[in-house]
Each structure stands twice: as structure tokens, then as C-alpha cells.
Amino acid sequence: MQAQDTQKRLSGTGRGSGAPPLVEMRDISISFGGIKAVDHVSVDLYPGEVVGLLGHNGAGKSTLIKVLSGAYQMDHGEILIDGKSVEIDNPRDARANNIETIYQTLALADNLDATSNLFLGREMTTPFGLVNDAAMEAECRKIMAQLNPNFQKFNDPVSALSGGQRQSVAIARAVYFNARILIMDEPTAALGPHETQMVADLIHQLKAQGIGIFLIDHDVHAVMELCDRASVMKNGKLVGTVDIADVTDDDLLSMIILGKQPAQKAE
């Protein structure tokens, strides 16, 4: 039963076709004043694949993906996209490489409304070069209708929104701009069960379009449900990367807690 599932999952991804991975992060290290937040970690991601990043609090998951999104500069390592080495020095470089990120902290400007946040840094303009608020609001309404149909507060600053509504705005911003590589750092942390299910559906939909997704989530069941592979981190180091099809919830949990590969994988 599970094996069949795997077949289905794998067939959608570009893995095993011989093509280079969509993203390859090689031997990444970054430290903050002596603390090695990420210590020689390598992960990769293929088109149409969802790779889960797991680990306890402070394991270095957010730091690792912030290197990819341009928020942090790594001390050591290399990032390849489509097999080619790229420089990602700031968030603009990441966006130029079609990398979109939903940050754990959401990274919204609280004093601006949902529309302004959605388009921040990429505003639509009129022929005179002025920002076209009406057109942007129309687009914002369209995408929010899909992500969170109950969302109505288009003209309030996002500080007036609930945690889940803010999360929807952050998700909308990441998926609106046709990303090829999507980074989701605990995207469902503030969402209710219904909204969480909508994000799961969204992930399936994006995966089907060939988008590669890094998903950070503390919920092992969600990872088992949504991901093709999972990379587990502990204290800044990579514990290992496993095919979800080959492991159980308990295997993943023990990797997270004990920091060891499951027995059958140790070989």
C-alpha cells in the first residue's frame, strides 16, 4: 500500500531521471558568534518534489533555508540551481532565481494592507510609473479567494489581522509570483484545521506544476503525508535524508530525538 503510494509520488518528481537537481545546497556552514547554527549540511531538491526539513527547536532549519532565500550569507558552501553554481547574496538574488519564501516570522509590514504586502518589492505600475493599487487589489482578491475564501480585510493594515489571516497573506505572496522553488517555514503554524487542509491541497497542486518545495514542519504526520523525502537536522548538523516511503513516523521521530539514522537504513 505504502509502496504504491511511493510509486505515485516518485513518478511526479524529476528525481531519478538523471537531470541535475533543481536546487543543491552543498556543505553549507554558517555560524553566529561561535555558535555553529548550520554545520556542513547538504540537501537537494528536485522539480515537483517536496522535501521536509525536520529537527528540534534551534536545530538550524530556518537558518539553512535563509541562506537559500538570501537573508543570511553562508560562511562556507555552495548553492547550485539546475546544476549551475549561483551567488545568492541578498533576497533580490533569490527572487531573481525564482525562489520564494514563507518565513516563520511571516515578514509582513504590519502597517500596510494585504495587497501592499503581497506585492511588496514588485508593485504593479501604471504607464506613468505610479503604483496601481486598484489592479493590485483585484489580483490580491483573486488569489485570496483561492487560499482563504473567508478573507475580507483588504483595506486594513495586516496588524489588524489574525495570525492565520496573516499567514494566508504570506503564503499568497510566495505562491503568486510563479516560483520554481518554494520555501515554506512552518506555513501552517497559525492555521486552523480547515486552512491547514487548504495549504496541503495547495502543496499538492504546486507539486503537480513541477515546483520544488522545502517544507519545514514540526508535525511528523503532515510531513509523512506531504513530503517525498525528509532531511533531519540536529544541533546544526544533518542527521540524514530519507525517502518517506522507506520510513515510519516513529523512524522520523527517533531521528529527530536521538539524532541517528533508523536501524534498517544504517546498513
Binding site: 500596510l112 493599487d133 486598484a134 505562491v175
Partner: protein, 432 residues
Amino acid sequence: MTETSSQPIPEKAKPSLFQQLELDMRLLGMIGAFVILCIGFNIFTDGRFLTPRNLFNLSIQTVSVAIMACGMVFIIVTRHIDLSVGALLATTSAVMAMTQTELLPQILGMGLNNPATWAITIVVGLFVGTLIGAFHGWMVGYLTIPAFIVTLGGFLVWRNVAWYLTSGQTIGPLDSTFLMFGGTNGTLGTTTSWLFGLFATAVAIWALWSGRRAKAAHGFPVKPVWAEATLAGIIAIAILGYVYIVNSYAIPTRRLQRMFEARGETMPEGLVVGYGIPISVLILIIVAVTLTIVARKTKFGRYIFATGGNPDAAELSGINTRLLTVKIFALMGFLCAVSAVVASARLANHSNDIGTLDELRVIAAAVIGGTALSGGIGTIYGAILGALIMQALQSGMAMVGVDAPFQNIVVGSVLVLAVYIDIVYRKRLGAK
């Protein structure tokens, strides 16, 4: 991501009168405070406060601080501060005074009233102001020295650079065309003022209408027509009312006579000519409208507010917040130079103490006008109203005969009180 259906927009519960007007309550509060202030002073001065002459003077005295307050809004919105604006005004004023009285006559051999003198002078002044501002911004943005420190240093540096440039002397007289940019020396005259007033009213109404049309085109909710019409009416009355007031301030007969003599004509008997809109006020209007458009309708403005609301989010959204800081301070420097033109032209010379304490007036104007020191919130019109309220308070007290020290005590207290009211107001709104 292919669905195109828009969300239905539900009808809300019937909103109150003010909500329908979508008028900013803070704006109304400030206008109310200003009106009460004017009426109060008018009573205490036996009707001398609300005369065309005094209102005209009030407006030309406000311009210099108001122009800088517009720039200060952007600075404070991005969570910075600029303590050097008064000193920067002095330096740019000194540069322009020396340019027109020493540099141009000596180097280019252009006399003081050469037709190109004023233009070259102003270009030089604006350039120097922008450059110094950009330098401040570079230190704040790229060297990450806190703006408070950079501009505290700038406060001392530029005040004394101005002193060195002029050897501490008062420089005058200034170029006669240059003088038209401040005070009573340059006004539009009654006919042009009326035309300008009508033009401005038409533009304002057009802006309201096109904003409404853009919303309606996408099926977004719009205000009821009567609300829009009321707003247009208020704007028209404000603009045309001001024109009426400055037009009814007549140029004194003797001065008029001299103006005719200068042109070699004789003045017709009993002629009364109004001043009309001062050119300095026109400059303020241009600055205010431009910066309001910048704030609301350009990417630059959007990024300023985003950075103020959450600097990290702005950075992660790909905004170059360092370069943005340079631009904002450069704009501030530019506006200091504009204010220097207006202030030195109004005083008809450059004096050593020009712009003294202006930094505090400018910051106070922006803050009274609703700019939040925590960043992310502020309006241009608020800052201008703030400057106007402060100036009205100051000159009103002077007219009533309040002692100078006590005037400052009142102004200081009003600043603190205004910010407190603002905090209470925001809390009641439920924001922050």
C-alpha cells in the same frame, strides 16, 4: 492559480456619517484645534488675529518649517531622526548667500542682479543640500551609525560650517529675483491667484473622481456620491477661501507707489492691489503635493512605509533599505536647501542664526501632525498642519503679549500633550 473569480464583497452594517466620509479623524481633530486656536487668539487680540494681513504673514512664516517637516515625515516613518535640519538650512543658506554675493560676481563677473544669478545660486544650494543629506544617509544606511548620532554631529558641524563660510557675518543684500521666493517680495497677484485657485480646485476634484473611477472599475466599494461631493466642497472652500484671504491683503499704498515708480509709471489715484498667493506658499504646495504622491503612489513611498513598518520584512522583500536610507536623507537635505531659499529670501539676507532651533520645530510639527516615532505612520498634510498650528500658537501668543519664555513653555507643553492625545486616540482605535 488559474481561477479568476473575484470574491464577493459583502455589505457591511450601515456606517456612521464620518465613516462614510472616510475622513481621517485625526485630520479633523487638528483642523478643529487650529480653528479653535485662531478664534481664541482673535478674541484676545480684539480681532487682530483673523485679518488678511495676519493670516498672510502666518502662512509665509510657516513655509520654511513646513517644507522641512514634509521631509522629516519620511525620516521618522523609517524610524530615523534628523537633528541637523536647522544647521543644514544655515549651511545651504550660507552657500547660496556667498554664491550670489561673492562667487558669481567675482568669478563669472555676474552682478548681483544678473538674470542668471538667482537660478545658478538656487541650483548650487539645492545640490549642496542634497549632497550633505546623502552623506548623512550613507553614514546611517551603510555605516549603520544611528541617525540620532550622525545628525547630532551634523547639527554641530553644519551650524559652524555656515559660520566659517560667512565668517559669522550677515550677508546681504541678496539678489532681487532671489528675494521673490520668500516673504512679501514675491506674490502671484490677485488674478493669477484666482486662476491658480480654480486650477488647484479642478485638479483636486479630478483626483477624487479618478480615484473613485479606478475603484469602481474593479467593482470595489466606493463612497456614496454625497460624501464625495461634500469632500470636494470642503476642499474647494479651503483653497478658494485662502486665495480670497491673501487677495484681500492689500499692498500698502506707499509700497505700491514705489513699485510703480520703479517701472517709471505713476500710480493711479486710489488704486488698491492685493498681494495674492506668496510664491513661497506656492513652493510649499508643490512640495506637499509632490511628496504626497510620492508617499502614496510611488514604489519609493511604498518602500519607505514598508521599511518603517518592519525593516526586516522590507529587506526580505528585496528592498534595498540602505540605499533607501540614503535617498530619504538626500531628500531631506534637498528640502533643507529649499527652506533655506525661502527663509533667507524672507529675511532678505543670510544671518548667522538662521534656522536656529528649526530642527525642534520641524520634528515637533511632524509629530503633532501624527507621525509616529515608532515608525511606519505619518502624513504630509499632517506635518504641514502641525507646522501651522505651532506657528499660529507662537505668533498668536506674541500678539497677545505673552512673555517670550512663557511662549516656549506653552509650545513645549503642547507638543507633549499632542503626542499623548495621539497615543490615547490610537489605543481607542485598537491599533498598536
